[in-house]
Symmetry: C3
Subunit: 352 residues, 3 copies
């Protein structure tokens, strides 16, 4: 959805300099920008201002950095405003309202006429799909699922029966939600399956990455809070509760009944034991490990296995790297003490 | 499948108190139980007995804890008996024997008439599917695969050619079994694929979580033993042998030719080098790393990278956390020794 | 594709002894070889030469080890030559040129007549598929994708719009390429999606394992270089550049804009921060962690979190295991120093 520089500045609520009538068609990165590109100047890229080779139609950057004669929209947070601009220039696809002839819709499903169904979509009985949602090729919606408005489900997404999804949710290819959680009780001879008959609720504006798996509650509910964003290949176990606007990077795994409160930021490949709790806004670095039952407090960054506050982790890690020196010092001290013993005894250290 | 409290107690082989004619329709957790719910009292939940607010139709708990006047089935292992009860109240779905009109079955496939085929299922030539199995939407069964009775394959499961699956196996959505293992030989110029022409055998009563991948043997067989349970997003490499009743939590990866013996329990995000062996019943904690060729002995719990017995790991980890104190002590000792040297020399320590 | 021992030796450019007219039908491992099997003698398996029980039609092994009277092809690198032989005996499947009646091909797609389309394949508008490629059941090719010749896409592969794939590429079941990368900017209230409008290029002879995910570039390109091999359940983030002939084992995750240069070898469950760089040919052990921005130098093997050269890592890890002894020594030294102080003062150590 193209617009002029002037229109874009108005949309963003920002001021600009230069040719306000110049047309913007897309966002680009600096290196590949052309005469219809909007770019932004990241904090690492200021060097380009000296060389003066910005090819874009317009650049988003702080007013004080704007080179005279350049088309520029002034922003003190250019990356954020670039993302806002991109939402206008590259809007989410809108449903075409078409139903591919190969889509298999059970007679008891309720699908708004504005919904787009791709080839080979399967919608089972009792499922309901809200206005403007798009189901791409091969999506499977289980019995009794409920999707809100303007969702996009990419190819091969599978919702087990009864999964509830809010509005504007994006599920990338291969996401599985509502599968059985992992719980067994051993009787000494064989494993009995603990019941996995709970619910999954995915709230508004959630986005979930490809091949991520979300188990249904065992007896309760697994919940992904509004606005949270989950990357690819993440595992969310039964009864987990994710708050609002939480960020979870790829390949992280969250064990049963763990709670991640609002605005927490979780790195990649993090592992959570069960019944842990991450308090509001806490940040956990990649590859960290959170023990079962652990409470990770607000207001800090955590790292390591098991997690520690980042400053502590860094100090410990530095000392770990100095273990050889510590060992050498210890050996040296032992020698010196032997010398001292000998000196006091008025004799040479005993050979050992 | 509903029943009365009396019938349930008989089924479990347990005694009860209260209204034996009361009807049970489902299992629930304590907080959401209603007048047709069976609940159990976990060891963490005994506090509720004092407040006396169990809303369920019946509670499974040790006889000594049963409040007078409450409908209760007496169990010394309430979680296990709850799982057994759930298997009755929430039985596995039974095949309806229907074949969706969009299922693509090759003429040379052999499918029992009692099998249920969902929409868009694909069964290739030479495949055989046993009585009462259910293949949900979009499942793909490769040439020559052989499935036993009463299996459930959830949407999007893919079996490459020749995979053998026993009876009552459950494969969750997106499971891939029989894909090529990962082996190449570099000739200095390009990578030659080591042949991946072996087999996959999944024995009876195995359950495998969503998007888990199981490679076929390179020249031999990858085997998942009877009764083993594997969580989501697990990677099982070529020639791995998993014994019986093994538990493997999410996102664990097992490299080629590693052996996990019967009854072992493996946490989440564990990594195994190739040709390792976990002996019968050993327990490995989450995020652990097992070196190639390592033997993990029976009778203990292991943790860490590389794995160590848990007691040793805990001790080392505690000392790791005390490195700053150790460093400070070492520095203090150095000073004291300088003082001692000086005292012996009858002079002040040399300035350095 | 069978051949005689003599033909195989000629094909490999090697000499042989024994019955050159003997027919070879398959590769096998030593234990299960039969009268039409070609086997190789790995360095671990030389013991079998003493027991003399090789049942195979022919064995690949160093000339000096060949038992007289055995059919043998002489190779100083038997595993490599075995892989080369396997490529002849078990060639990649060739396209049958068939189009299953259930395949959904958009009118604007260009598919060579030699292409094989399995059941329920979806090819969207503007996509092009080169000669001899095979798309198995349920593959989804997005708008404008371009595939080269003789590719094999296993069931359920999903290519988002615009993904470019070279020749002879193998994508295993459930691979997702071209999905949105993971980038958001928080405005204090909600997460704005950073644009994910870049490209994905997968070059010739790449093989990618099941359920692996490859994000499209945000503004640039995510690239997998020619001849690289990627295992199952790997995550490749936006703008990552993988060089040529790189090996990446299962469950590894690579964050945005990281570069892995040619011939690098990456173990399983490794995690890379963003903007890291692995130089040509470097080797990184399983479960390692590479910090954002880190440069991993050529010519060494790396291990640990964060990565260190293997020798250093081993030394540190050994010292870590000796922390209890170090602590005990430190305590002992403290005592001895107290004794020395006392001796010098001519008095007993003060009680503390």
């Amino acid at each position: 959805m193209t617009c002029t520089i002037g229109q874009m500045a108005a949309l963003l609520g920002l001021e600009y300099q230069g040719d306000g009538a110049r047309r913007l068609e897309r966002v680009s990165k600096l290196e590949t920008a052309d005469e219809v590109s909007l770019v932004f100047l990241g904090s690492d890229e200021r060097g380009i201002l000296r060389t003066g080779r910005i090819q874009a139609a317009c650049v988003l950057l702080p007013r004080l950095l704007a080179p005279p004669g350049t088309n520029a929209i002034f922003s003190e947070q250019p990356k954020l405003d670039f993302a806002r601009a991109a939402a206008h220039l590259h809007p989410r696809p809108a449903s075409r309202g078409t139903k591919h002839s190969t889509a298999c819709v059970a007679p008891g499903a309720t699908i708004d006429e504005s919904v787009e169904l791709g080839p080979l979509v399967v919608v089972e009985n009792g499922a309901r799909i809200g206005k403007g949602s798009i189901l791409r090729a091969g999506v499977v919606i289980g019995e009794g699922c409920c999707l809100g408005r303007e969702c996009i489900l990419h190819p091969g997404v599978v919702l087990y029966p009864g999964v509830q999804v809010g509005d504007r949710v994006i599920l990338h290819a291969g996401v599985v939600a509502g599968c059985d959680g992992f719980g067994y009780v051993f009787d000494g001879n064989s494993q009995w399956k603990f019941p996995q008959v709970g619910a999954v609720v995915i709230e508004d504006d959630v986005e979930i990455g490809s091949n991520t798996t979300i188990d249904r509650g065992s007896l309760g509910t697994t919940r992904i809070g509004a606005g949270s964003k989950i990357d690819n290949l993440v595992q969310i176990a039964h009864n987990v509760e994710i708050g609002k606007n939480v960020i979870i990077a790829a390949q992280t795994g969250i064990s049963g009944s763990t709670i991640i409160e609002d605005n927490a930021v979780i790195g990649g490949q993090v592992g959570f034991g069960d019944h842990a709790r991450v308090q509001r806004g806490a940040v956990i670095g990649s590859k960290a490990g959170v023990l079962p039952g652990k409470i990770v407090r607000s207001g800090d960054v955590y790292w390591g296995i098991p997690v520690r506050p980042l400053r502590e982790y860094k100090r410990l890690n530095a000392l770990f790297g100095r273990l050889p020196e510590m060992k050498a010092e210890l050996d040296q001290l032992k020698k010196e003490i032997a010398v001292l013993h000998a000196a006091i005894r008025g004799s040479r250290p005993e050979s050992k």
